[in-house]
C-alpha cells in the first residue's frame, strides 16, 4: 500500500510537466494549448489563467470528453500547486488524451511570476438559485447567464406581444429591458396583456410593466419610454446600446419606422404580429438577411388591415407569439441555435398548425438593398395610406 507522497511521486514520473514560465510563453503563442483548471469552484472564482477551461477534479473524467472531444488537442492541466493536477493529468492520459502536461508549481507559481490572471464575474448565491435551470443547460450555463444579465433588449409596445416577452425576458435575467409605449392600461387590454392587472387601470403601460417585471426579478432594470416611437425620437432611443429589439407594435407606421431605423442602427429585430387566431414571427438581422420591407414592401390598404382593436384577437395568441419572440431574443443574445432569420413562422391557432415560408433579402429593397433609395425617415403615416402600386 503506497502513501500519498509515494503515489504522487509515482504519478509524476508517468506524466510530463511544464514550468509556469514556459506555459506562459505557450499561452502567448499562436498555437496556444488549452489550459484546464481542476481546482475547487471557489479557487476558480478568485482568479484563473486567461482562457482556461474550468472543470473541477471531482467530475473531470465524467465531463472532459464532452468539453474537449478532440483528444489530440494539447492540454495544460493546473491546480494551485501542481499536485491535484498531476493526478488529473494522469487521468486524462488514461482517457486517451495524447498531449497532456502538468503545470509545475500551479496557479500559485503563475501568480508569483506576475502573469496575467482573469478574475471571473460570479453569480451570487441568490442568482445561482434563481437561474439554476439555466445553469444546467449546456447552451446557457454560467457564461450564458452572465451574457443575459449584461444584455439590453428594447421592446416596442407593452401590449399583447410585449406582455409575455417582457415577462419571460425579465424572468430569464435579461439585465436591462427598455419598453416604449405611450398608452395607459385599459380594461379591454386585460384579456391578453398579462403584464398588467386590474389595479393598474389608467396607469401608463410602461410603468405598470416596469413594476411587474422588476417585482418578478430584482436583477432586471426596466427603462420606461412613455412615448410613441416617432421619426423624431427613434434615433435617441435606438442609440442607447440595444442588443436586440422585440417588435410588438400595433400599427404599420411604427413597424416601417422601426424597420428603417433598425437597419440604419444595425440592430436585429424579432418581429411578431397577430390577428384573431393567427400570428407571424420572424427575425430581421441587418446584413444577415431580409428586412421588413423585403418581406412586405408595402402595407395593405387600411380596409384590408384591421387592427386587433377593430378585428379582435384570441387572448392567448399573443402569449404564444410573444413567447416565441422572447425565445428568439434569448437565442440571439446567447448566440445559440438557428434563429428565424430568413424564415417566417406562421401560426394558426384554429387549426393548431405551424407553417414556415422563406423570406429572402431583396437586392432591390429601398432600405437594405444594394442601392438604397430611402436613406432617411419618411412620413410613415402617409406612406401607409398612400395608394398602392402594381406588384
Amino acid at each position: 500500500m503506497a502513501t500519498y507522497r509515494e503515489l504522487l511521486a509515482r504519478v509524476k514520473e508517468e506524466i510530463d510537466e511544464i514550468s509556469t514560465v514556459e506555459a506562459q510563453e505557450r499561452l502567448a503563442s499562436s498555437d496556444s494549448p488549452l489550459f484546464v483548471d481542476v481546482r475547487e469552484p471557489d479557487e476558480w472564482d478568485e482568479g484563473h489563467i486567461p482562457g482556461a477551461l474550468y472543470t473541477g477534479r471531482g467530475r473531470l473524467e465524467q465531463r472532459i470528453e464532452g468539453l474537449v472531444p478532440d483528444k489530440s488537442r494539447p492540454l495544460v492541466v493546473y491546480c494551485s500547486g501542481g499536485s491535484r493536477s498531476a493526478f488529473a493529468a494522469k487521468a486524462l492520459e488514461d482517457l486517451g488524451y495524447e498531449d497532456v502536461v502538468n503545470l509545475a508549481g500551479g496557479f500559485s507559481d503563475w501568480k508569483r511570476n506576475g502573469f496575467e490572471v482573469t478574475i471571473p464575474r460570479v453569480l451570487s448565491p441568490e442568482q445561482r438559485a434563481r437561474y439554476s435551470r439555466h445553469l444546467l443547460i449546456p447552451e446557457v450555463g454560467e457564461d450564458g447567464q452572465q451574457r443575459l444579465l449584461d444584455a439590453r433588449v428594447l421592446l416596442i409596445g407593452a401590449g399583447g406581444l410585449g406582455s409575455p416577452a417582457s415577462l419571460y425576458l425579465g424572468a430569464a435575467g435579461v439585465g436591462t429591458i427598455g419598453i416604449v409605449d405611450a398608452d395607459v392600461v385599459d380594461d379591454s387590454n386585460l384579456q391578453r396583456q398579462v403584464v398588467h392587472s386590474t389595479d393598474r387601470l389608467g396607469e401608463p403601460k410602461v410603468l405598470s410593466a416596469k413594476r411587474t417585471v422588476e417585482a418578478l426579478n430584482p436583477d432586471v432594470r426596466v427603462i420606461p419610454y412613455e412615448e410613441r416611437l416617432t421619426a423624431e425620437n427613434v434615433d435617441r432611443i435606438l442609440s442607447e446600446g440595444w442588443d436586440v429589439i422585440v417588435d410588438g407594435a400595433d400599427n404599420f407606421p411604427t413597424r416601417y419606422l422601426l424597420n428603417d431605423a433598425s437597419v440604419w442602427h444595425d440592430i436585429p429585430v424579432v418581429h411578431g404580429s397577430i390577428f384573431r387566431f393567427e400570428g407571424q414571427v420572424t427575425v430581421f438581422s441587418p446584413g444577415h438577411g431580409p428586412c421588413y420591407r423585403c418581406l412586405f414592401p408595402q402595407p395593405p390598404p387600411p380596409e384590408l388591415a384591421p387592427s386587433c382593436a377593430e378585428g379582435g384577437v384570441l387572448g392567448v395568441l399573443p402569449g404564444i407569439i410573444g413567447s416565441i419572440q422572447a425565445s428568439e431574443a434569448l437565442k440571439l443574445i446567447l448566440d445559440r441555435g438557428d434563429s428565424l432569420v430568413g424564415r417566417l413562422l406562421l401560426f394558426d391557432a384554429l387549426g393548431t398548425t405551424f407553417d414556415e415560408v422563406s423570406v429572402r433579402r431583396n437586392t432591390e429593397c429601398p432600405v437594405c438593398g444594394d442601392h438604397p433609395t430611402i436613406t432617411e425617415y419618411v412620413d410613415y403615416v402617409e406612406f401607409c395610406n398612400t395608394p398602392l402600386q402594381i406588384g
Binding site: 399583447g160 404580429s273 407571424q280 414592401p297 408595402q298 395593405p300 384590408l304 387592427s307 384577437v313 406588384g391
Partner: protein, 89 residues
Amino acid sequence: MARVRIPPTLRNEVGGARELEAHGATVGEVIDDLVERHPALRAQLFQNGGLGSFVNVYLGGEDVRMRDGLETPVDEGATIILLPAMAGG
C-alpha cells in the same frame, strides 16, 4: 387542383372559409379560378390590374415573386398561401 389558404382578413369575401380548393396550372390561373367564384376577392387582391404588392403568395414555402410570379407552375395538390401583412401586436 391546389389548396389555397385564405388569411383572416379575406375570409369575409369567401364566406368564412380558411382554405379553398381551386384549379389551374399556374399560380395566376389558380387565383383567377378563385376570384371567378368569389368576385369580392378581386378588389382585395388586385391593384391596377396586377396582384397587389401587399399580398405575398407562397408556393411550397417560397414567395412566388422569387420564382416566376403568377406564371409559376402549380403541381397537383400543392398548397398556396395568401399572406398579407398584419400589424397587430
